[in-house]
Symmetry: C2
Subunit: 382 residues, 2 copies
């Protein structure tokens, strides 16, 4: 096991009717900016619940944060927050709204052009306190300190972490998920599954507990996925999904283990270039990653096949089953897992590989995913 430091200070407030507890959790004299997305919270009642909970408090609203939150939008939010003297941010939404709000929180404490800390994340060191009301289980952003921001004019999508960027608290009421579009639920399942794989499917790392916990999340998603595709208004199923998505990326399964994240880095390019949903990009790339990096990840692929999919046979057969079962799982959720199904061809592959070459990127837990392997992975997915 590798040495590690773990600390996650976020207070998780989970269950039915918990939005009503918001006011107790935010300092009484806070000047709050409530951030949200395209307005679905106005249709599904969450906006009203939040406003009812914050009655009598000082609140500025900032709506319109996009899926894959846009740099220009967030810079406007920072300007508004400065003018309004905001000292507490409340993100009401999914991963995009929360990620965007982390960028705003960091920007408010940053002197200079906020683009700096996307290019050099070591500059993100302070933040205005933020909290969240989660409406879409997927990214884990409600209980971690990372964020991803896009800048469309440059076709870029970049990630940063801020040690002070953990939400002070996050309110997770599973009932708010009942009104989600099915496509977002599916994206959330794929995203949580991929987050877990990124921290698990590396090499034999001697962390027995983390392996078991990651497998537990994967097994839960395998079991829940088809049920949630059918319907997502049964409390216990949605609650288990919501908890799984949070636990998949809050550091709990990352203690002392190597991490991969190459699939995410490749997926981000597909989103930046073609606007594909983040979850869809992961479902496309992961089977290719498993096939091309099969030798390097062999022992873990076999373990994954055995424990998550109950695979039998030779180790070779199990490793093959790992790839096949993963793609079947994604397709069973209705996700198109081939680039060609999205009208994407060779020219995109060439573009991404060139960009990675220019950046000098070698990805993955052992930096073995070179631009050449990225090309192999994406060609496997045509």
């Amino acid at each position: 096991m590798n040495n590690f430091t773990f600390c996650n200070p976020t207070r998780l407030i989970f269950g039915k009717g918990t939005i009503a507890r918001l006011a107790d959790e935010i300092p009484a004299d806070a000047r709050i900016m409530m951030t949200y997305g395209g307005g679905s919270i106005r249709r599904n009642g969450v906006y009203d619940q939040v406003m009812a909970a914050l009655r009598g408090r000082s609140v500025v609203e900032f709506g319109g944060i996009e899926p894959n939150p846009e740099y220009a939008t967030l810079v406007r939010a920072i300007e508004l927050a400065r003018v309004e003297g905001v000292d507490f941010l409340l993100a009401v939404g999914g991963g995009s709204v929360i990620d965007g709000t982390k960028f705003i929180a960091t920007g408010l404490k940053y002197e200079g052009d906020p683009w700096d800390f996307l290019v050099d994340p070591s500059r993100a060191v302070d933040a205005v306190p933020l909290a969240t009301v989660l409406t879409l289980p997927a990214t884990g952003s409600e209980m971690n300190n990372g964020a991803v921001v896009s800048r469309r004019e440059r076709n870029e999508k970049l990630a940063f972490h801020n040690p002070k960027g953990y939400p002070v608290f996050s309110v997770l009421d599973p009932e708010v998920c009942y009104s989600l579009p099915g496509r977002q639920v599916v994206n959330g399942i794929v995203d949580s599954f991929a987050h877990t794989l990124e921290q698990y499917l590396t090499f034999d790392s001697q962390s027995m507990v983390m392996d078991r916990w990651a497998e537990g999340l994967l097994q839960t998603l395998v079991e829940l996925g088809p049920k949630l595709v059918e319907r997502h208004d049964r409390y216990d199923e949605v609650a288990n999904f919501m908890l799984t998505a949070t636990m998949a990326l809050n550091g709990f399964i990352a203690m002392g283990v190597p991490q991969d994240w190459a699939t995410h880095m490749i997926g981000h390019e597909l989103t930046a270039l073609h606007g594909l949903d983040h979850g869809v990009t992961l479902a496309i790339v992961y089977p290719g990653m498993m096939r091309v990096m099969r030798a390097e990840k062999f022992d873990k692929l076999v373990q994954y096949a055995e424990r998550v999919w109950g695979a039998t046979g030779t180790p070779e057969q199990k490793a093959e089953a790992a790839v096949a079962k993963t793609e079947e799982f994604f397709r069973g959720l209705g996700v198109k897992t081939r680039l060609s199904e999205h009208g994407i061809g060779e020219e995109t592959i060439d573009f991404i590989v060139d960009r990675f070459r220019q950046r000098g990127w070698a990805l993955g837990e052992r930096r073995l995913v070179t631009p050449e392997r990225v090309a192999e992975i994406l060609r496997d997915r045509l």
Copy 2:
């Protein structure tokens, strides 16, 4: 799933050579009291490592905290800390030293007789900051806010929680465990196993993730137990054990699920009356708890038998296997799981049952473990 609030602020610093980082973690101007037990840390080098890390800092020592920390000893520590103007506590030891130090930390912020907050734990609301260097994986006290204190003159052993009682940080260097007596390692395995069961073996609670995570800890202990009995100086095995013991009682597997703890409450009496090691009492009581509460815990016993022990057959056979395998596991570690093997008979059972009657206790996740069932459980263990 039940509604819940989760927050664990303890910073976990895990791995080889981590004791050297102590000085960076404690405020430079702190007046530190370093607490420890019977002096084993002087023999195994931990004392020297801690003192080297704290060179030039202001440190008062308080040694001699007993296994099952004694009220009178801890009251003396509170008096000394007051005289010395201590404002930071560093517990160097196992669960007893850490629990005792939580009592000292709470007592230093409490006006009046500290016995009050053992009798009425709702009075424990503040604490001097404390941190730990763990030397014995077992109780999880290094990452939770609970403590158990004994008062031998009254044959009592009582627990309390303090919302401010989480260690600020805990340093876990698996190498410090190499010199532990085998008996303490075995007690730690049993203790961690029982902690997990207390949060898992209740009734079908619809928390798929928590079930998987608890099973993951149990599976890890089942796999590691016999290896650790053989030797406990192989880094990865000891590191996995150390991490498991912490994760077994830091709230991570408790989200949204009911909890039992009847076995612990009965076990505490056996320690208070006969001085048995805490782990041994749990190994004695748990098989009886499973057998007597079989109907109430039936579905979970079956699931436990299937997933942790790979049991097959009818549900009845699986439930029976759950009990048998658990006792076999404890006995395989060399623990005597029968009261008679410890020279304990009917009169102790009568005494405990009477005491529970006087206290009006009905224990367990549904308060169904009445004094009458306690009698049944203990008679099963003669």
